[in-house]
């Protein structure tokens, strides 16, 4: 019985039925030429597989990990949804009144502060708080801020990166976000429209936008700061 190269290929790839496989097993023992042809097929298959094996050991590019995991791996671990304390709820209660216009100035050439006209500026691919927003993040305490403040600071916590982070709400709850940083230089991690679902005072019930809540859940390390810890952190100039 002669076997074509295609059959021998399928034999090597274990794609033949048991009966044909057994007959080739037996024939290889008796037929040296056949054994050479099978060995040739096997060597090639092995060599092809081995040639790409090292790719598995290469370091994984960050961009692929981020694309697949959705968040930097350190923050990707699952967390149970947090329960909000009365303190946190009251801290993110509605801010009614005085508006702050959130202006986003893009600094095309990356020179920080070149056009520092808005409350949030883009600089080297990141957003930073400026002006009223920056002052509120640095100076305001959730426990003492006035109802009429144009920026309301919400929850303060320490992130997994070891920085202070604070949630904030802008004019009448129109936008909300999360800023993190050290030493009073606040990087805006997220800012989102906080569209009231039913009426202007919806945010008063403590409905932090889902996106902000998720960002916070992903980044928080331990519990949020209580009033005393928040005050102490401000006294240290937001340095840890």
């Amino acid at each position: 019985m002669t076997y074509s190269d295609e059959v021998l290929m399928k034999y090597v790839d274990r794609e033949l039925d048991a009966e044909t496989t057994a007959s080739i097993d037996a024939a290889v023992v008796r037929n040296a030429d056949l054994a050479v042809r099978v060995e040739r097929q096997r060597k090639l298959a092995h060599a092809v597989h081995a040639a790409y094996e090292p790719v598995l050991e290469e370091p994984m590019p960050r961009r692929l990990l981020d694309a697949a995991a959705g968040t930097p791996p350190a923050a990707a671990t699952a967390r149970a949804p947090r329960r909000w304390t009365w303190f946190e709820w009251s801290a993110i209660a509605a801010s009614v009144a005085v508006g702050v216009v959130i202006g986003v100035a893009f600094i095309a050439d990356g020179r920080r502060g070149a056009t520092d006209t808005g409350d949030i500026v883009a600089d080297r691919g990141q957003l930073f708080a400026r002006g009223t927003l920056a002052r509120a993040l640095t100076d305001q305490l959730a426990s003492t801020q006035a109802l009429g403040d144009s920026v309301r600071v919400g929850v303060t916590f320490v992130s997994k990166r070891g920085e202070y982070c604070r949630t904030f709400t802008l004019e009448r709850g129109s936008a909300a976000g999360l800023a993190c940083g050290s030493g009073g230089d606040w990087r805006v991690e997220l800012v989102t429209r906080a569209t009231p679902k039913s009426g202007e005072y919806r945010m008063a019930s403590g409905e932090l936008p889902v996106a902000v809540q998720q960002a916070m859940d992903a980044q928080i390390q331990g519990n949020s700061l209580d009033a005393a810890a928040e005050q102490a952190a401000r006294q240290r100039g937001w340095r840890r």
Binding site: D5, L44, A47, Y52, E53
Partner: protein, 173 residues
């Protein structure tokens, strides 16, 4: 992120190394391969609900990669014209009967297969898929996979065993 999405993403992360390996085999270029993986990951996330329960994540991703390769990445591939004869000549002449085939020579030979043959080799020989699964990934009958593989192996044997064979293959392309 919902628990389902987290689970899905975790699975994606776990198959990334193999997606890169398959990508390397079919694109023949490291950066093209990583671009292809990234595009496939992004598409997969958009079509998450299309992954039927019980379907292998890996096969599904290979399919997305193959489609993305055909209709997007291939046309803007960084990889330029396939080897000059002098360059390939440096790697051929190694007999497949040698105990250790030079990995570089093997990859160079695979690089010179046509796209269909190279994808079949990538799925079956590099990634170890059964012919049936490879056929499902490609959306072709199993016999088509078999014949592509058989032709690919003939060419690889020719390319790797003697320079004359390599030249014949090259002339035929």
């Amino acid at each position: 992120m919902t628990p389902e999405e987290q689970q899905f993403r975790a699975e994606l992360v776990s198959v990334l190394p193999r997606l890169r390996r398959f990508g390397r085999a079919i694109t023949r270029h490291r950066e093209d391969a990583d671009d292809l993986v990234q595009i496939a990951v992004e598409r997969a996330l958009l079509r998450r609900e299309q992954l039927q329960p019980g379907t292998q994540m890996l096969s599904w991703m290979f399919k997305i990669m193959n489609n993305a390769w055909i209709d997007e990445v291939r046309s803007r591939s960084r990889r330029e014209k396939i080897f000059a004869p002098e360059e390939s000549g440096a790697h051929v002449g190694v007999s497949p009967m040698d105990e250790h085939l030079d990995a570089l020579a093997v990859r160079s030979a695979i690089d010179r297969l046509n796209d269909e043959q190279r994808v079949a080799v990538g799925l079956v020989l590099v990634e170890g898929l059964p012919y049936k699964e490879a056929a499902e990934v490609l959306g072709v009958p199993i016999g088509t996979v078999t014949s592509r593989l058989a032709r690919a192996r003939e060419q690889l044997q020719a390319l790797l065993s003697d320079p004359a064979g390599a030249r014949r293959v090259q002339a035929a392309q």
